[in-house]
Amino acid sequence: MKHKKKAGPNYNRYGWAFIAAAFLLYLIFTIYPAVESLALAFQSLEGGKYVFVGLKNFKRMFGDAIFLQSLKNTFLYMIIQVPVMLMLALLLAVMLNSRFLKWKGMFRTSIFLPCVTSLVAYSILFKMMFSLDGIVNQFLMHLGILEQPYQFLQNSVWARAVIIIAMLWRWTGYNVIFYLSALQNIPKETFEAARVDGANAAQTLFRVTIPQLKPIVLLTAIMSTNGTLQLFDETMNITQGGPANSTLTVSHYIYNQSFVYAPNFGYASAISYMVVFLMIILAIIQFSVAGKEG
């Protein structure tokens, strides 16, 4: 109590002043657009003017085959990519944290490096790698697996696979960093106790390490889910949503509705809010699954 008084009578005011600038920006660039777009979701552009249309935009979604396809694609990416990526990240993090590993700095840097590349640049690189005269085709032909170059991006299954592979490359390292820092905060005594009890590596991983990483696993799962639902740059640049909309994501469809097709910002906002809604649902599910014991 005494200490707080020392901070002076303006302590609180200073505090507010310090956060005011950031909060103001947050208000202008995040809260205000979010509120405006909620209003927009109930409007439609007709004859150059916005008119209130009630729930029409939301109703339209359920009959919109392309929207449903994009939702399906997005969930497919999420269901396959997020678990694979998180497991891979955890594995890499545990390996990087090993006492026996030399050159840790170099490995950490090279695993994190993909995360600092630009989304557009890496997408274009993946597009080039999987193109007709790209390195993947040349490699497979050199090994004799393929006789002729294969158009990976023109086949709906392979096009999706390429998107997932690209995302794995780009985002795994990002999650490794989270796990790594969490691993270093795990008390060493727990590992020692496990060793004394005669636990093997796998038992240590599943019984000691992972349970103690749970909050971080939850955090990365939610972040990745969020990120996947907002996936845009990769499909836009690698496949343009093709072939036959098989790689189109919801965000990409929102972009098309806003800027490629006859402008329909009301419908686009409605879809955005649908994504927000889905994210909240998913987060609640994830919390309830992970939070049973805690």
């Binding site: 991006l153 836009m236 972009y255 402008p263």
Partner: protein, 461 residues
Amino acid sequence: MKRKLTAAITTAALALTLLSGCGNTSNTPQPSNEPAVQEPASGETSVKDTADSTAQTGNGETKTVTVWAWDDNFNVAVMKEAARVYSETSPEANINVDVVSLSKEDVYVKLQTALAGGGSGLPDIVLLEDYVSGKYLNTFPGAFADLTDKFDYSQFLSFKVDAVSQNGKTYALPFDTGATALYYRLDLIEQAGYTEEDMQDLTWDEFIAIGKDVTEKTGVQMIVEIANNKTTLVRAMMQSCGLWYFDKDGNISIQNNEALAASFDIIMKMKEAGILFEAESTEGRAGALNNGTVASVVNAPWFISSIRQAEDQKGLWRAARIPRISTLDASINASNVGGSSWYVLENSAVKDEAIAFLQGVWEGNTDFYDTIMRNQGAMGSYIPAYDTGVYDEEDEFFGGQKLNGLFAEVLPDVIPVNYGGYVAEANDAITTALANLFEGKTDINGALEQAESQLANQLGR
């Protein structure tokens, strides 16, 4: 429970960043599902270039007319030339034309956002493709100046004027045309035992027969199209019959569109005959032509600059009228793909000056049209300009052929169609249908049916 709630709110806050990102996702270089793949994008440079900064020294107040266009080597260069000509012929006008070079996508995204947001940050003159004309005129009525009485439109190509008109009013000054030609490698055709004569006024069936021989004897595939967007060929074939995705009244016309069915059939035959090279992108298409893996392409005049990139192929190329559809009597050996026009914004502070500038250069000045034809290969829509000497000039790259003359001959034949306001949506529906057809998931009727229902769904009909 409280923790769950806090977490849910945090997630919502995170998710909200998606919404605020909704309005500025313009950092994407080349979405290929744009209304039409037209002039190569000029990249994302937004370098402002003042065409005539010396005008500042004139008497009175100098007004600035801002123009948005998208290709440094083409329409931007042409507009800068127009500004230069105008400052010479009408120095008393005392205006300063500021041509801003953006990527085509950025022009559309910025325009769309500014118009939807109430109209600040707009240019005075903007270039739009004819394919998107209907979209902007429908969605933003009153945003563009009515130019009906400002120009003598009988002097411009009628199909171009139709494309920028709505309800009897004309809203733009027609600029370039997409007069379609078949560009082909004469040397490869000759190796297969054919001559230049054999390539004139073909039907698509004859073209495929020649293509089979070429592919068999030279190992080079006959024709190139972009894999995930084959609509250039489709649109060229459709308009050669005077048909379109929409009928004259703007109703969707896909399922019962004979020309569309025929074009799907022809493209499938090309694929089955093994003469169709599916490029992965616009760059891939140009690359395939430049490195000699493909013998021909159907496209507009501006595509010539891509063909010319391969200097070692000088003299080997020829151009001809495009093939027609043999099964349809309406089909002719002429069509159009793309083309763009200049629009003046209704609420521009310098609207009158902008219109006067367009009138001063783009109407009556055939020397100007000669210059842009010669320097930029821009094929204008101003009919009196077709009589000048530039159309008799021989093109070395095309073995001395009178290339400009070919376009001038094709253009008057092009049948006007009503592009309507939803070309991008229709292109996507057709692209999806063709992809399913190519993967063998459906037949031609099924593909058309699917495209029609997708489009109807998109348009809420």
